[in-house]
């Protein structure tokens, strides 16, 4: 992991993952994957980050492959679509393009990648035995004809395209934003089907219908941090609604220590969440840190200190989701890096916005 000092106008990605204690205990591979990718298309420096969590259940015995393939196709698809998304010009159109064109391409690309993986490495009875299928079930599973089920995975992805941030989410896990004042928000609509015991998945036949989409306008009170975290992180937190406290602390760390310090700590934070102290589950966190985040967080704190001095302390609180639209498609490749441990990279800030200013998301916070 390198400690890079971001230049003015640069986004920086801090990412880390850790294999959960429950997987280490039984010698199974981690099921999470993370990837980020700068554009190699030269379109105003779009940036894509993806995090995925393979289901781990024996029915999804290749979910570690499924999650790795998911983050790859997500970054590739988003970067490939960057020009088209950029041309949308306003948030509603961008959300619609994501739903109608990007997601179908992404899901199709994931399916193709899984099938290619299967072609290259057919399932064996030995693999099924190792996955925990009793002998009497192995032939049945092998003959079931549902190959994608083995690769089941969630997916969270974020792409910064000019002044817009496109967020895509299927399954559990958390996407959150942190404002300069430390307020936290959930930008992607919730899904009542996610009850903590089951998850929606890329391997569903109707996966497109389970994707949730949000678009943030960076010209409209941009966050200092956008976080993507697999459920191993949230499930380790003692508090059920953990984002407000985490957001407040991240803003404070930005102010007092800076992003490089956060980047150096992130691996330890994630490892603790994945340990028996926490969820014991694979844990992955990717933080997109905005340009000038430290200065903005400091400025917000100064304003707050002045306000408290003038009017007295005020309470904050309550989780209000940022709203947004919905769903729907495949494409290929670009560049990127798969992370095994904490890492950070910087990327140039896109040029100033020139298009319209509407957004399909409304501000929210705790």
């Amino acid at each position: 992991m390198s400690a890079l000092i971001p230049a003015e106008g640069e986004w920086q990605i801090l990412a880390a993952n850790a294999v959960g204690a429950s997987h280490r205990a039984n010698g199974r591979p981690g099921q999470d994957a993370v990837r980020y990718a700068p554009s190699d298309h030269g379109i105003d420096y779009p940036l894509a980050v993806a995090v995925a969590d393979g289901h781990g259940h024996r029915l999804h015995f290749r979910s570690h492959d499924g999650s790795r393939l998911a983050v790859g196709v997500a970054c590739d698809t988003l970067l490939h679509a960057a020009g088209m998304l950029w041309a949308c010009g306003e948030a509603g159109a961008l959300a619609a393009a994501a739903t109608d064109r990007v997601l179908p391409d992404l899901v199709a690309a994931w399916r193709s990648a899984c099938l290619a993986n299967l072609d290259g490495r057919p399932v064996t009875f030995e693999e099924l035995r190792a996955a925990g299928f009793p002998e009497e079930e192995q032939a049945m599973v092998a003959a079931a004809g549902e190959p994608l089920l083995a690769y089941g995975s969630t997916l969270m992805a974020a792409a910064i395209v000019g002044r817009w941030v496109l967020l895509l989410h299927i399954g559990d896990g958390d996407i959150f934003t942190v404002g300069a004042d430390g307020s936290a928000a959930v930008p992607v609509p919730g899904d009542p089907l996610l009850d903590g015991f089951r998850t929606t998945s890329l391997c569903q036949p109707d996966a497109l219908g389970s994707f949730r989409v949000a678009v943030l306008d960076l010209a409209d009170g941009p966050p200092v941090v956008i976080g993507l975290a697999t459920d191993g992180y949230g499930n380790a937190q003692s508090s059920d609604v953990w984002q407000p406290a985490v957001g407040a602390d991240l803003a404070r760390y930005l102010r007092q220590q800076g992003r490089s310090w956060i980047g150096r700590q992130l691996g330890d934070w994630v490892a603790r969440c994945a340990s028996v102290e926490g969820s014991a589950d694979d844990t992955t966190v990717a933080l997109l840190v905005a340009p000038g985040a430290e200065a903005r967080a400091s400025a917000a704190a100064s304003v707050e200190a002045q306000r408290v001095e003038t009017y007295g302390a005020a309470a904050t609180a309550v989780l209000t989701p940022v709203t947004t639209p919905a769903t729907a498609p495949v494409m290929p490749p670009g560049a990127g890096t798969v992370l095994d441990t904490a890492a950070e990279r910087t990327f140039p800030m896109p040029p100033p916005p020139t298009g319209p200013t509407s957004t399909s998301s409304t501000g929210g916070g705790w």
Partner: protein, 233 residues
């Protein structure tokens, strides 16, 4: 910030093991009076150290106990989720009818309030008779919650007069039998068996050969049995 500070600091309000909630539903109807109630109190108190030992050894879930006593009413007997290692079992008193359906409703309400990060709960129903209220309504209320549908459900029947049909429907899994205690002396043995079942089946979820954090998928029915972790609907 010193190096020592930074090694312990972490954003948010701290981390902890995921809770595993264990609900005991105990029949306190008049027919339990005397030897049976005495044996049940002893058996539950005897079961707790076994669960505490398991909890200490597996190191991944924090087990918390709650209990509902049902007779003429169904009331919380241990209302607060209490760490299994800290619970001193308060003796139950027998009187009245068998409001088993209402007890399921009460637990259903609590299951609906479980933390989002809670592991699949366990519920054990202990009775020597048959419900005197609307059992079906109670079971429906329990199963109306995601946690209720996902729970590990076990039942102990005390004596041959216990009606096994509602207990089997409560368990909802033909492969899991009702544990029958033919005499007061056998109650403790059956509860120990139940506690072993809770710990073993929870171990399956805690990575001892399977995966505590494994997830099923909505709307996809996989091939074959998913008996160990049937989260696929």
């Amino acid at each position: 910030m010193s190096a020592a500070d930074s090694s312990s600091i972490m954003p948010g309000g701290g981390i902890s093991r995921r809770p595993l909630d264990f609900f005991v539903l105990a029949d306190c109807s008049g027919s339990m009076r005397g030897e049976k109630m005495q044996a049940l109190n002893f058996a539950i108190a005897d079961m707790l150290p076994h669960l505490a030992t398991w909890e200490r050894d597996q190191e991944q879930a924090a087990m918390r106990i709650r209990a509902v006593a049902f007779g003429d009413e169904a009331v919380w007997h241990v209302a607060e989720p209490t760490p299994v290692g800290e619970l001193r079992w308060p003796p139950l008193q027998a009187a009245g009818r068998t409001r088993m359906g209402r007890a399921l409703e009460v637990v259903g309400g609590a299951l609906n309030q479980l933390e989002r990060r809670a592991l699949r709960p366990a519920v054990i129903l202990i009775t020597d008779g048959r419900p005197t209220d609307d059992f079906d309504a109670g079971l429906a209320a329990l199963l109306a919650t995601p946690a209720g549908r996902s729970a590990l459900s076990l039942a102990v029947a005390i004596g041959r007069d216990a009606d096994l049909d509602p207990l089997e429907r409560f368990i909802g899994d033909p492969s899991v039998p009702v544990l029958v205690a033919d005499s007061a002396e056998e109650i403790a043995d059956r509860l120990i068996a139940a506690s072993i079942a809770v710990s073993r089946l929870s171990e399956v979820r805690l990575g001892q050969g399977h995966d505590v954090n494994a997830k099923g998928v909505l709307a996809v029915r996989g091939p074959g049995s998913v008996a160990d972790d049937d989260r696929i609907v």
